[in-house]
Protein backbone atom coordinates (compact mmCIF):
# COMPACT_ATOMS: atom_id res chain seq x y z
CA UNK A 1 0.00 0.00 0.00
CA UNK A 2 1.33 3.44 -0.91
CA UNK A 3 2.30 5.72 1.97
CA UNK A 4 0.62 9.07 2.40
CA UNK A 5 2.36 12.41 2.79
CA UNK A 6 0.94 15.75 3.87
CA UNK A 7 2.76 18.72 2.29
CA UNK A 8 2.49 22.23 3.70
CA UNK A 9 4.09 25.17 1.90
CA UNK A 10 2.60 28.60 1.26
CA UNK A 11 4.81 29.03 -1.84
CA UNK A 12 2.58 27.63 -4.61
CA UNK A 13 5.47 26.86 -6.97
CA UNK A 14 7.55 25.04 -4.41
CA UNK A 15 4.49 23.25 -3.07
CA UNK A 16 3.76 22.02 -6.57
CA UNK A 17 7.38 20.89 -7.01
CA UNK A 18 7.31 18.92 -3.72
CA UNK A 19 3.97 17.38 -4.68
CA UNK A 20 5.39 16.22 -8.01
CA UNK A 21 8.49 14.77 -6.37
CA UNK A 22 6.47 12.68 -3.91
CA UNK A 23 3.85 11.67 -6.47
CA UNK A 24 6.60 10.50 -8.84
CA UNK A 25 7.92 8.38 -5.98
CA UNK A 26 4.48 6.72 -5.61
CA UNK A 27 3.35 8.51 -2.47
CA UNK A 28 -0.27 9.56 -1.96
CA UNK A 29 0.02 13.33 -1.48
CA UNK A 30 -2.23 15.97 0.04
CA UNK A 31 -0.90 19.51 -0.56
CA UNK A 32 -1.93 22.47 1.56
CA UNK A 33 -0.85 26.10 1.78
CA UNK A 34 -2.35 27.20 5.09
CA UNK A 35 -0.90 25.85 8.38
CA UNK A 36 -4.19 26.17 10.27
CA UNK A 37 -6.02 24.12 7.65
CA UNK A 38 -3.12 21.65 7.69
CA UNK A 39 -3.52 21.12 11.45
CA UNK A 40 -7.23 20.40 10.97
CA UNK A 41 -6.60 17.97 8.11
CA UNK A 42 -3.75 16.31 10.01
CA UNK A 43 -5.99 15.85 13.07
CA UNK A 44 -8.80 14.22 11.12
CA UNK A 45 -6.82 12.02 8.71
CA UNK A 46 -3.97 9.56 8.87
CA UNK A 47 -0.69 10.40 7.20
CA UNK A 48 2.61 8.55 7.30
CA UNK A 49 4.75 11.69 7.09
CA UNK A 50 4.46 15.48 7.03
CA UNK A 51 6.67 17.82 4.97
CA UNK A 52 6.50 21.46 5.94
CA UNK A 53 8.08 24.78 5.10
CA UNK A 54 9.40 26.97 7.93
CA UNK A 55 8.59 30.54 6.93
CA UNK A 56 4.83 30.86 6.44
CA UNK A 57 2.32 33.63 7.12
CA UNK A 58 0.41 33.24 10.39
CA UNK A 59 2.51 30.42 11.82
CA UNK A 60 6.15 29.44 11.42
CA UNK A 61 7.07 25.82 10.75
CA UNK A 62 8.44 25.20 14.26
CA UNK A 63 5.09 26.23 15.81
CA UNK A 64 3.25 24.03 13.31
CA UNK A 65 5.50 21.08 14.20
CA UNK A 66 5.00 21.66 17.93
CA UNK A 67 1.21 21.58 17.45
CA UNK A 68 1.04 18.46 15.31
CA UNK A 69 3.55 16.68 17.56
CA UNK A 70 1.11 17.24 20.43
CA UNK A 71 -1.66 15.63 18.39
CA UNK A 72 0.20 12.64 16.91
CA UNK A 73 3.81 12.58 18.19
CA UNK A 74 4.59 9.36 16.34
CA UNK A 75 4.17 10.84 12.84
CA UNK A 76 7.56 11.86 11.40
CA UNK A 77 8.09 15.38 10.09
CA UNK A 78 10.54 16.80 7.55
CA UNK A 79 11.28 20.51 7.37
CA UNK A 80 12.17 22.13 4.05
CA UNK A 81 13.30 25.72 4.07
CA UNK A 82 15.29 28.36 2.22
CA UNK A 83 17.45 29.35 5.17
CA UNK A 84 17.70 28.22 8.78
CA UNK A 85 20.07 29.24 11.57
CA UNK A 86 22.03 26.41 13.19
CA UNK A 87 20.25 27.05 16.49
CA UNK A 88 16.88 26.73 14.74
CA UNK A 89 17.95 23.45 13.15
CA UNK A 90 19.00 22.10 16.55
CA UNK A 91 15.74 23.28 18.13
CA UNK A 92 13.71 21.64 15.36
CA UNK A 93 15.57 18.35 15.75
CA UNK A 94 15.14 18.50 19.51
CA UNK A 95 11.42 19.02 18.98
CA UNK A 96 11.10 15.86 16.93
CA UNK A 97 11.74 16.94 13.34
CA UNK A 98 13.27 13.92 11.63
CA UNK A 99 15.03 15.74 8.80
CA UNK A 100 15.87 19.31 7.81
CA UNK A 101 16.49 20.09 4.14
CA UNK A 102 17.62 23.42 2.78
CA UNK A 103 16.73 24.70 -0.68
CA UNK A 104 17.92 23.94 -3.31
CA UNK A 105 16.73 20.45 -2.57
CA UNK A 106 18.65 17.24 -2.99
CA UNK A 107 15.67 15.15 -4.12
CA UNK A 108 17.38 11.80 -3.58
CA UNK A 109 18.35 12.63 0.01
CA UNK A 110 14.84 13.89 0.69
CA UNK A 111 13.21 10.68 -0.59
CA UNK A 112 15.79 8.49 1.14
CA UNK A 113 15.16 10.21 4.48
CA UNK A 114 11.40 9.94 3.91
CA UNK A 115 11.66 6.16 3.51
CA UNK A 116 13.89 5.88 6.60
CA UNK A 117 11.54 7.91 8.77
CA UNK A 118 8.41 6.04 7.68
CA UNK A 119 10.13 2.67 8.24
CA UNK A 120 11.40 3.80 11.64
CA UNK A 121 7.91 5.00 12.67
CA UNK A 122 6.41 1.67 11.58
CA UNK A 123 9.00 -0.25 13.57
CA UNK A 124 8.38 1.86 16.67
CA UNK A 125 4.64 1.37 16.29
CA UNK A 126 5.09 -2.41 16.09
CA UNK A 127 7.35 -2.39 19.16
CA UNK A 128 4.84 -0.34 21.16
CA UNK A 129 2.01 -2.65 20.15
CA UNK A 130 4.08 -5.62 21.29
CA UNK A 131 4.92 -3.97 24.59
CA UNK A 132 1.33 -2.93 25.16
CA UNK A 133 0.22 -6.47 24.47
CA UNK A 134 2.53 -7.71 27.20
CA UNK A 135 2.27 -4.96 29.74
CA UNK A 136 -0.94 -2.97 29.47
CA UNK A 137 -3.13 -5.45 31.33
CA UNK A 138 -1.58 -4.41 34.63
CA UNK A 139 -0.47 -6.46 37.58
CA UNK A 140 -1.78 -9.84 38.49
CA UNK A 141 0.74 -11.50 40.73
CA UNK A 142 0.74 -15.20 40.28
CA UNK A 143 -2.48 -15.02 38.33
CA UNK A 144 -3.22 -17.04 35.22
CA UNK A 145 -3.13 -13.87 33.18
CA UNK A 146 0.60 -13.62 33.84
CA UNK A 147 1.13 -17.09 32.51
CA UNK A 148 -0.69 -16.10 29.35
CA UNK A 149 1.61 -13.10 28.98
CA UNK A 150 4.59 -15.41 29.06
CA UNK A 151 6.14 -13.86 32.15
CA UNK A 152 5.26 -13.11 35.73
CA UNK A 153 5.55 -9.83 37.58
CA UNK A 154 5.70 -11.43 40.98
CA UNK A 155 8.74 -9.49 42.19
CA UNK A 156 7.42 -6.14 40.94
CA UNK A 157 3.64 -6.39 40.79
CA UNK A 158 2.67 -2.72 41.13
CA UNK A 159 2.04 -0.06 38.51
CA UNK A 160 4.25 2.73 39.87
CA UNK A 161 6.38 4.33 37.12
CA UNK A 162 9.62 2.91 38.60
CA UNK A 163 8.14 -0.55 38.84
CA UNK A 164 6.76 -0.56 35.29
CA UNK A 165 9.96 0.90 33.88
CA UNK A 166 12.03 -1.75 35.66
CA UNK A 167 9.85 -4.60 34.41
CA UNK A 168 9.92 -3.23 30.86
CA UNK A 169 13.70 -2.95 30.87
CA UNK A 170 14.05 -6.44 32.30
CA UNK A 171 11.72 -7.78 29.64
CA UNK A 172 13.55 -5.97 26.85
CA UNK A 173 16.83 -7.46 28.02
CA UNK A 174 15.42 -10.96 28.47
CA UNK A 175 17.35 -12.27 25.46
CA UNK A 176 20.72 -11.11 26.78
CA UNK A 177 23.34 -13.34 25.30
CA UNK A 178 26.05 -13.56 27.87
CA UNK A 179 25.79 -11.38 30.99
CA UNK A 180 23.16 -9.35 32.80
CA UNK A 181 23.77 -7.32 35.96
CA UNK A 182 21.04 -6.63 38.49
CA UNK A 183 21.99 -3.73 40.73
CA UNK A 184 19.67 -3.28 43.65
CA UNK A 185 19.77 -1.81 47.13
CA UNK A 186 20.52 -4.11 50.09
CA UNK A 187 17.77 -6.61 50.78
CA UNK A 188 16.57 -6.73 47.18
CA UNK A 189 14.72 -9.94 46.32
CA UNK A 190 17.24 -11.02 43.68
CA UNK A 191 16.07 -14.63 43.89
CA UNK A 192 12.47 -13.61 43.22
CA UNK A 193 13.51 -11.34 40.33
CA UNK A 194 15.55 -14.15 38.78
CA UNK A 195 12.54 -16.45 39.13
CA UNK A 196 10.61 -13.83 37.16
CA UNK A 197 13.35 -13.76 34.52
CA UNK A 198 13.16 -17.55 34.36
CA UNK A 199 9.43 -17.35 33.71
CA UNK A 200 10.17 -15.36 30.53
CA UNK A 201 11.34 -18.65 28.98
CA UNK A 202 10.15 -22.19 28.57
CA UNK A 203 10.83 -23.76 31.98
CA UNK A 204 11.51 -27.11 30.37
CA UNK A 205 14.43 -25.68 28.40
CA UNK A 206 16.01 -23.16 30.77
CA UNK A 207 18.06 -24.28 33.77
CA UNK A 208 18.85 -21.74 36.49
CA UNK A 209 21.67 -22.25 38.97
CA UNK A 210 21.83 -19.98 42.02
CA UNK A 211 25.32 -19.48 43.46
CA UNK A 212 26.53 -17.41 46.40
CA UNK A 213 29.87 -16.99 48.14
CA UNK A 214 29.24 -20.14 50.15
CA UNK A 215 28.35 -22.30 47.16
CA UNK A 216 30.26 -20.97 44.16
CA UNK A 217 33.13 -23.11 43.00
CA UNK A 218 34.15 -24.88 39.80
CA UNK A 219 33.00 -28.35 40.80
CA UNK A 220 29.56 -27.12 41.85
CA UNK A 221 28.99 -25.31 38.55
CA UNK A 222 30.23 -28.24 36.48
CA UNK A 223 28.05 -30.65 38.47
CA UNK A 224 24.99 -28.44 37.89
CA UNK A 225 25.79 -28.18 34.19
CA UNK A 226 25.97 -31.95 34.00
CA UNK A 227 22.56 -32.24 35.69
CA UNK A 228 21.16 -29.72 33.21
CA UNK A 229 22.61 -31.68 30.31
CA UNK A 230 21.31 -35.01 31.58
CA UNK A 231 17.86 -33.52 32.14
CA UNK A 232 17.69 -32.16 28.60
CA UNK A 233 17.78 -28.45 29.36
CA UNK A 234 18.88 -26.38 26.38
CA UNK A 235 20.45 -23.42 28.17
CA UNK A 236 21.96 -22.70 31.58
CA UNK A 237 21.76 -19.41 33.43
CA UNK A 238 24.05 -19.03 36.44
CA UNK A 239 22.88 -16.46 38.98
CA UNK A 240 25.77 -15.13 41.06
CA UNK A 241 24.33 -13.58 44.21
CA UNK A 242 26.20 -10.90 46.18
CA UNK A 243 29.28 -11.14 44.04
CA UNK A 244 30.89 -8.25 45.93
CA UNK A 245 31.14 -10.49 49.00
CA UNK A 246 32.88 -13.30 47.15
CA UNK A 247 36.58 -14.08 47.55
CA UNK A 248 39.06 -12.83 44.95
CA UNK A 249 39.40 -16.36 43.62
CA UNK A 250 35.63 -16.62 43.23
CA UNK A 251 35.54 -13.27 41.44
CA UNK A 252 38.13 -14.51 38.94
CA UNK A 253 36.12 -17.68 38.59
CA UNK A 254 33.01 -15.57 37.90
CA UNK A 255 34.83 -13.89 34.99
CA UNK A 256 35.85 -17.28 33.58
CA UNK A 257 32.29 -18.52 33.96
CA UNK A 258 30.79 -15.49 32.21
CA UNK A 259 33.27 -15.86 29.36
CA UNK A 260 33.01 -19.68 29.32
CA UNK A 261 36.77 -20.06 29.43
CA UNK A 262 39.28 -22.10 31.47
CA UNK A 263 37.45 -24.73 33.53
CA UNK A 264 34.15 -23.87 31.88
CA UNK A 265 35.35 -24.08 28.29
CA UNK A 266 34.02 -27.58 27.83
CA UNK A 267 30.44 -26.87 28.90
CA UNK A 268 28.27 -27.99 25.99
CA UNK A 269 25.14 -25.94 26.46
CA UNK A 270 24.90 -22.18 25.95
CA UNK A 271 25.62 -20.54 29.30
CA UNK A 272 24.71 -17.08 30.56
CA UNK A 273 25.46 -15.28 33.80
CA UNK A 274 23.36 -12.95 35.92
CA UNK A 275 25.37 -10.88 38.40
CA UNK A 276 23.49 -9.57 41.44
CA UNK A 277 25.06 -6.74 43.44
CA UNK A 278 23.80 -4.46 46.18
CA UNK A 279 25.76 -1.36 45.28
CA UNK A 280 26.58 0.88 42.37
CA UNK A 281 29.27 -0.66 40.12
CA UNK A 282 31.49 2.41 40.26
CA UNK A 283 31.45 2.40 44.05
CA UNK A 284 32.26 -1.31 44.11
CA UNK A 285 35.12 -0.76 41.67
CA UNK A 286 36.49 2.22 43.61
CA UNK A 287 36.38 0.18 46.81
CA UNK A 288 38.18 -2.70 45.02
CA UNK A 289 35.25 -5.00 45.71
CA UNK A 290 35.04 -5.98 42.05
CA UNK A 291 38.05 -6.30 39.76
CA UNK A 292 38.61 -4.63 36.37
CA UNK A 293 37.35 -7.62 34.41
CA UNK A 294 34.12 -7.80 36.36
CA UNK A 295 33.68 -4.04 36.19
CA UNK A 296 33.73 -4.08 32.40
CA UNK A 297 31.86 -7.34 32.05
CA UNK A 298 29.02 -6.34 34.35
CA UNK A 299 28.35 -3.14 32.47
CA UNK A 300 27.39 -4.87 29.22
CA UNK A 301 23.73 -5.11 30.18
CA UNK A 302 22.74 -3.70 33.54
CA UNK A 303 19.42 -3.10 35.19
CA UNK A 304 18.94 -0.98 38.27
CA UNK A 305 16.38 -2.49 40.62
CA UNK A 306 14.24 0.16 42.31
CA UNK A 307 14.06 0.30 46.11
CA UNK A 308 10.85 -0.89 47.75
CA UNK A 309 10.10 2.59 49.07
CA UNK A 310 10.10 3.91 45.49
CA UNK A 311 7.39 1.45 44.53
CA UNK A 312 4.87 2.00 47.32
CA UNK A 313 2.09 0.38 45.29
CA UNK A 314 4.08 -2.87 45.36
CA UNK A 315 4.28 -3.12 49.14
CA UNK A 316 0.73 -4.18 49.86
CA UNK A 317 0.65 -6.70 46.99
CA UNK A 318 4.03 -8.16 47.95
CA UNK A 319 2.93 -8.35 51.60
CA UNK A 320 -0.14 -10.38 50.61
CA UNK A 321 2.04 -12.66 48.47
CA UNK A 322 4.41 -13.23 51.39
CA UNK A 323 1.55 -13.90 53.80
CA UNK A 324 0.07 -16.38 51.31
CA UNK A 325 3.43 -18.15 50.86
CA UNK A 326 4.05 -18.41 54.60
CA UNK A 327 0.50 -19.66 55.17
CA UNK A 328 1.13 -22.36 52.56
CA UNK A 329 4.42 -23.32 54.20
CA UNK A 330 2.75 -23.46 57.62
CA UNK A 331 -0.14 -25.41 56.10
CA UNK A 332 -2.69 -22.98 57.51
CA UNK A 333 -6.27 -23.67 56.53
CA UNK A 334 -7.00 -20.00 55.86
CA UNK A 335 -4.71 -17.28 54.56
CA UNK A 336 -4.65 -14.34 57.03
CA UNK A 337 -5.35 -10.92 55.56
CA UNK A 338 -3.82 -7.60 56.47
CA UNK A 339 -6.02 -5.07 58.25
CA UNK A 340 -6.37 -1.82 56.25
CA UNK A 341 -4.48 0.09 58.97
CA UNK A 342 -1.73 -2.52 58.79
CA UNK A 343 -1.50 -2.11 55.01
CA UNK A 344 -1.24 1.66 55.42
CA UNK A 345 1.46 1.17 58.04
CA UNK A 346 3.47 -1.04 55.68
CA UNK A 347 3.20 1.53 52.91
CA UNK A 348 4.53 4.27 55.20
CA UNK A 349 7.76 2.50 56.22
CA UNK A 350 11.17 3.31 54.74
CA UNK A 351 12.14 -0.38 54.27
CA UNK A 352 15.85 0.31 54.26
CA UNK A 353 16.46 -3.41 53.84
CA UNK A 354 13.80 -3.67 51.17
CA UNK A 355 12.06 -6.94 50.38
CA UNK A 356 14.06 -9.01 52.86
CA UNK A 357 13.00 -6.72 55.70
CA UNK A 358 9.36 -6.85 54.63
CA UNK A 359 9.57 -10.61 54.38
CA UNK A 360 11.25 -10.98 57.77
CA UNK A 361 8.72 -8.66 59.41
CA UNK A 362 5.74 -10.60 58.08
CA UNK A 363 7.34 -13.92 58.89
CA UNK A 364 7.91 -12.72 62.45
CA UNK A 365 4.32 -11.45 62.65
CA UNK A 366 2.89 -14.74 61.47
CA UNK A 367 5.20 -16.74 63.69
CA UNK A 368 4.29 -14.83 66.82
CA UNK A 369 0.58 -14.35 66.30
CA UNK A 370 -2.28 -16.34 64.94
CA UNK A 371 -5.68 -15.31 63.65
CA UNK A 372 -7.40 -14.39 60.43
CA UNK A 373 -6.46 -10.72 60.46
CA UNK A 374 -2.97 -9.29 60.90
CA UNK A 375 -3.57 -6.10 62.83
CA UNK A 376 -1.59 -2.88 62.97
CA UNK A 377 -0.36 -3.66 66.51
CA UNK A 378 0.96 -7.03 65.44
CA UNK A 379 2.91 -5.48 62.58
CA UNK A 380 4.33 -2.65 64.70
CA UNK A 381 5.63 -5.20 67.20
CA UNK A 382 6.99 -7.41 64.44
CA UNK A 383 8.79 -4.56 62.73
CA UNK A 384 10.38 -3.40 65.97
CA UNK A 385 11.48 -6.93 66.83
CA UNK A 386 12.70 -7.47 63.28
CA UNK A 387 14.87 -4.36 63.39
CA UNK A 388 16.79 -5.94 66.25
CA UNK A 389 16.88 -9.30 64.49
CA UNK A 390 18.08 -7.63 61.28
CA UNK A 391 21.29 -6.33 62.80
CA UNK A 392 21.99 -9.68 64.49
CA UNK A 393 21.35 -11.53 61.23
CA UNK A 394 23.68 -9.23 59.35
CA UNK A 395 26.44 -9.72 61.91
CA UNK A 396 26.02 -13.49 61.75
CA UNK A 397 26.08 -13.39 57.95
CA UNK A 398 29.27 -11.34 57.94
CA UNK A 399 30.93 -13.62 60.51
CA UNK A 400 29.92 -16.69 58.52
CA UNK A 401 31.54 -15.15 55.42
CA UNK A 402 34.75 -14.38 57.29
CA UNK A 403 34.79 -17.89 58.79
CA UNK A 404 34.41 -19.44 55.35
CA UNK A 405 37.25 -17.37 53.91
CA UNK A 406 39.47 -18.28 56.86
CA UNK A 407 38.74 -22.00 56.49
CA UNK A 408 39.29 -21.83 52.72
CA UNK A 409 42.62 -20.04 53.21
CA UNK A 410 43.87 -22.68 55.66
CA UNK A 411 42.59 -25.37 53.33
CA UNK A 412 44.67 -23.97 50.45
CA UNK A 413 47.74 -23.67 52.68
CA UNK A 414 47.40 -27.23 53.88
CA UNK A 415 46.96 -28.63 50.38
CA UNK A 416 43.22 -29.29 50.69
CA UNK A 417 43.83 -31.81 53.43
CA UNK A 418 40.64 -31.66 55.52
CA UNK A 419 42.20 -33.54 58.47
CA UNK A 420 45.03 -31.01 58.62
CA UNK A 421 42.51 -28.15 58.49
CA UNK A 422 40.43 -29.77 61.22
CA UNK A 423 43.56 -30.24 63.33
CA UNK A 424 44.50 -26.59 62.79
CA UNK A 425 41.14 -25.42 64.12
CA UNK A 426 41.04 -28.07 66.85
CA UNK A 427 37.85 -29.64 65.57
CA UNK A 428 36.84 -32.65 63.49
CA UNK A 429 36.53 -32.91 59.71
CA UNK A 430 32.72 -33.00 59.71
CA UNK A 431 32.58 -29.45 61.09
CA UNK A 432 35.03 -28.22 58.43
CA UNK A 433 33.09 -29.95 55.66
CA UNK A 434 29.83 -28.45 56.93
CA UNK A 435 31.33 -24.94 56.83
CA UNK A 436 32.68 -25.38 53.33
CA UNK A 437 29.40 -26.91 52.13
Amino acid sequence: MAHSVLILDDDADFNSLLTDIFKQADYVVRSLHDPFEAIEVFTNSDYDLVVTDHKMPGMVGSEFVAQIKQIKPQIPVIMVSGFLENDTVRELINNGVGGVFLKPLNIFSLLERTTELIDEAKRLKQNHELEDKHLSDGPAPGAEQDVNLGFSLRSFPGQSPQSVSFVKRLYRLRNFRSTLSLIGPPGTAFGLICDDIRSFYDREKEYFVYLSSSSFDTSKVLAQCEIAKQSGFERITCVLLDIEFMSDAQKCLAVSLAKCVDAFELIDQPLRTIFCVSNDLDTLFDEARINEDLYILMRTAEVKVPALRDCVANISILAQQIVRDIATQKKLTTVPRLAPAAEDFLAEQAWNHNYEQLHATLRYAMHQFSGDVISLDVLVTALQANMKVCSRDQLELMLAGVRLEYVQAISILSGDDSSAVAAFFGTDTTVIEAIVQ
Binding site: F176, E292, D293, Y295, R299
Partner: protein
Protein backbone atom coordinates in the same frame (compact mmCIF):
# COMPACT_ATOMS: atom_id res chain seq x y z
CA UNK B 1 49.09 6.57 30.94
CA UNK B 2 48.84 4.42 34.08
CA UNK B 3 47.71 7.46 36.09
CA UNK B 4 44.60 7.62 33.91
CA UNK B 5 43.86 3.90 34.02
CA UNK B 6 40.70 4.28 36.15
CA UNK B 7 39.42 7.06 33.88
CA UNK B 8 40.10 4.93 30.79
CA UNK B 9 38.21 1.99 32.26
CA UNK B 10 35.31 4.12 33.42
CA UNK B 11 34.98 6.22 30.28
CA UNK B 12 35.03 3.16 28.02
CA UNK B 13 32.59 1.29 30.21
CA UNK B 14 30.10 4.17 30.11
CA UNK B 15 30.59 4.77 26.42
CA UNK B 16 29.89 1.11 25.65
CA UNK B 17 26.66 1.02 27.60
CA UNK B 18 25.52 4.39 26.19
CA UNK B 19 26.02 3.04 22.66
CA UNK B 20 23.90 0.01 23.58
CA UNK B 21 21.24 2.08 25.34
CA UNK B 22 20.93 4.45 22.39
CA UNK B 23 20.59 1.56 19.95
CA UNK B 24 23.84 2.10 18.06
CA UNK B 25 25.30 -1.31 18.84
CA UNK B 26 24.00 -4.54 20.35
CA UNK B 27 24.98 -6.08 23.69
CA UNK B 28 26.68 -8.87 21.77
CA UNK B 29 28.81 -6.30 19.91
CA UNK B 30 29.76 -4.72 23.22
CA UNK B 31 30.63 -8.10 24.71
CA UNK B 32 32.98 -8.83 21.84
CA UNK B 33 34.54 -5.36 22.07
CA UNK B 34 34.97 -5.70 25.85
CA UNK B 35 37.08 -8.81 25.42
CA UNK B 36 39.47 -7.03 23.05
CA UNK B 37 39.45 -3.91 25.22
CA UNK B 38 40.34 -5.83 28.38
CA UNK B 39 43.21 -7.53 26.57
CA UNK B 40 44.45 -4.12 25.42
CA UNK B 41 44.19 -2.47 28.81
CA UNK B 42 46.11 -5.25 30.50
CA UNK B 43 49.07 -4.77 28.20
CA UNK B 44 51.36 -1.88 29.10
CA UNK B 45 52.09 -1.07 25.44
CA UNK B 46 48.54 -0.96 24.19
CA UNK B 47 47.01 0.85 27.18
CA UNK B 48 47.73 4.14 25.41
CA UNK B 49 45.51 3.20 22.49
CA UNK B 50 42.91 1.10 24.32
CA UNK B 51 39.52 2.33 23.17
CA UNK B 52 36.17 0.56 22.93
CA UNK B 53 35.19 3.03 20.23
CA UNK B 54 38.14 2.21 17.98
CA UNK B 55 37.54 -1.50 18.49
CA UNK B 56 33.87 -1.18 17.54
CA UNK B 57 34.55 1.00 14.51
CA UNK B 58 37.86 -0.25 13.15
CA UNK B 59 38.33 -3.81 14.37
CA UNK B 60 34.85 -5.27 14.68
CA UNK B 61 33.28 -2.90 12.14
CA UNK B 62 29.94 -3.03 13.95
CA UNK B 63 29.63 0.72 14.41
CA UNK B 64 29.49 3.14 11.50
CA UNK B 65 31.34 6.27 12.57
CA UNK B 66 29.34 8.47 10.21
CA UNK B 67 26.14 7.24 11.82
CA UNK B 68 27.56 7.91 15.27
CA UNK B 69 28.46 11.48 14.28
CA UNK B 70 24.96 11.97 12.82
CA UNK B 71 23.53 10.64 16.06
CA UNK B 72 25.62 13.07 18.12
CA UNK B 73 24.44 15.93 15.93
CA UNK B 74 20.79 14.93 15.85
CA UNK B 75 20.22 13.49 19.31
CA UNK B 76 22.77 15.36 21.41
CA UNK B 77 22.78 18.65 19.43
CA UNK B 78 26.56 18.60 19.17
CA UNK B 79 28.47 20.57 16.58
CA UNK B 80 30.86 18.61 14.37
CA UNK B 81 34.46 19.65 13.92
CA UNK B 82 37.53 18.50 12.03
CA UNK B 83 40.46 19.21 14.34
CA UNK B 84 42.86 19.11 11.42
CA UNK B 85 41.77 22.65 10.61
CA UNK B 86 42.36 23.89 14.13
CA UNK B 87 45.45 25.64 15.39
CA UNK B 88 46.78 23.63 18.32
CA UNK B 89 49.93 25.56 19.12
CA UNK B 90 48.18 28.00 21.46
CA UNK B 91 45.82 25.85 23.46
CA UNK B 92 43.52 27.41 26.05
CA UNK B 93 45.03 25.39 28.92
CA UNK B 94 48.73 26.13 29.37
CA UNK B 95 49.68 22.96 31.27
CA UNK B 96 47.49 20.54 29.33
CA UNK B 97 48.38 16.89 29.91
CA UNK B 98 48.38 15.20 26.48
CA UNK B 99 48.04 11.76 28.08
CA UNK B 100 44.75 12.90 29.64
CA UNK B 101 43.55 13.96 26.18
CA UNK B 102 44.55 10.57 24.81
CA UNK B 103 42.93 8.72 27.72
CA UNK B 104 39.52 10.13 26.89
CA UNK B 105 40.04 11.13 23.24
CA UNK B 106 39.20 14.76 23.91
CA UNK B 107 41.00 18.04 23.22
CA UNK B 108 40.09 21.49 24.53
CA UNK B 109 41.01 23.41 21.39
CA UNK B 110 39.76 26.94 21.98
CA UNK B 111 38.45 29.38 24.57
CA UNK B 112 36.18 32.38 24.14
CA UNK B 113 36.05 34.50 27.29
CA UNK B 114 35.31 31.93 30.01
CA UNK B 115 33.90 29.25 27.70
CA UNK B 116 36.05 26.37 26.47
CA UNK B 117 35.50 24.49 23.21
CA UNK B 118 36.23 20.81 23.66
CA UNK B 119 36.26 18.29 20.83
CA UNK B 120 35.68 14.70 21.86
CA UNK B 121 35.04 11.22 20.52
CA UNK B 122 33.69 10.27 23.97
CA UNK B 123 30.89 12.75 24.53
CA UNK B 124 28.46 9.90 25.19
CA UNK B 125 30.57 8.80 28.15
CA UNK B 126 29.42 10.66 31.27
CA UNK B 127 32.72 10.31 33.19
CA UNK B 128 34.57 12.07 30.34
CA UNK B 129 32.11 14.95 30.26
CA UNK B 130 32.18 15.26 34.05
CA UNK B 131 35.96 15.07 34.17
CA UNK B 132 36.39 17.99 31.76
CA UNK B 133 33.56 19.95 33.33
CA UNK B 134 35.29 19.70 36.69
CA UNK B 135 38.65 20.56 35.18
CA UNK B 136 37.32 23.56 33.24
CA UNK B 137 34.75 24.84 35.73
CA UNK B 138 31.81 23.61 33.69
CA UNK B 139 31.85 26.20 30.91
CA UNK B 140 32.18 24.01 27.87
CA UNK B 141 30.77 23.86 24.37
CA UNK B 142 31.18 20.31 23.16
CA UNK B 143 32.02 19.23 19.62
CA UNK B 144 32.06 15.76 18.13
CA UNK B 145 34.94 14.70 15.96
CA UNK B 146 36.08 11.58 14.12
CA UNK B 147 38.63 9.19 15.58
CA UNK B 148 41.02 9.80 12.68
CA UNK B 149 40.86 13.56 13.20
CA UNK B 150 41.36 13.07 16.95
CA UNK B 151 44.37 10.76 16.58
CA UNK B 152 46.06 13.02 14.03
CA UNK B 153 45.51 16.02 16.28
CA UNK B 154 46.74 14.22 19.38
CA UNK B 155 49.91 13.33 17.51
CA UNK B 156 50.25 16.93 16.36
CA UNK B 157 49.64 18.14 19.92
CA UNK B 158 52.27 15.81 21.35
CA UNK B 159 54.78 16.97 18.73
CA UNK B 160 54.08 20.62 19.56
CA UNK B 161 54.45 20.03 23.30
CA UNK B 162 57.69 18.06 22.82
CA UNK B 163 59.09 20.83 20.62
CA UNK B 164 58.19 23.39 23.29
CA UNK B 165 59.93 21.34 25.97
CA UNK B 166 63.06 21.07 23.81
CA UNK B 167 62.93 24.81 23.19
CA UNK B 168 62.72 25.55 26.91
CA UNK B 169 65.69 23.31 27.64
Amino acid sequence: MQQHRALILRSNRFLGSSLVNEGLISSADLNAANDTFMAAIQSHESLKTASILSILIDELKVLDEAKLLDHLFEQHSLGLIDLNYMELSSLPIPDLDPSLCRACLSIPFDKVEQTYMVASCYYMSTPVVKHWETLLDGNIIWYATSIASMHQSLQRLENILTAKEVEQE
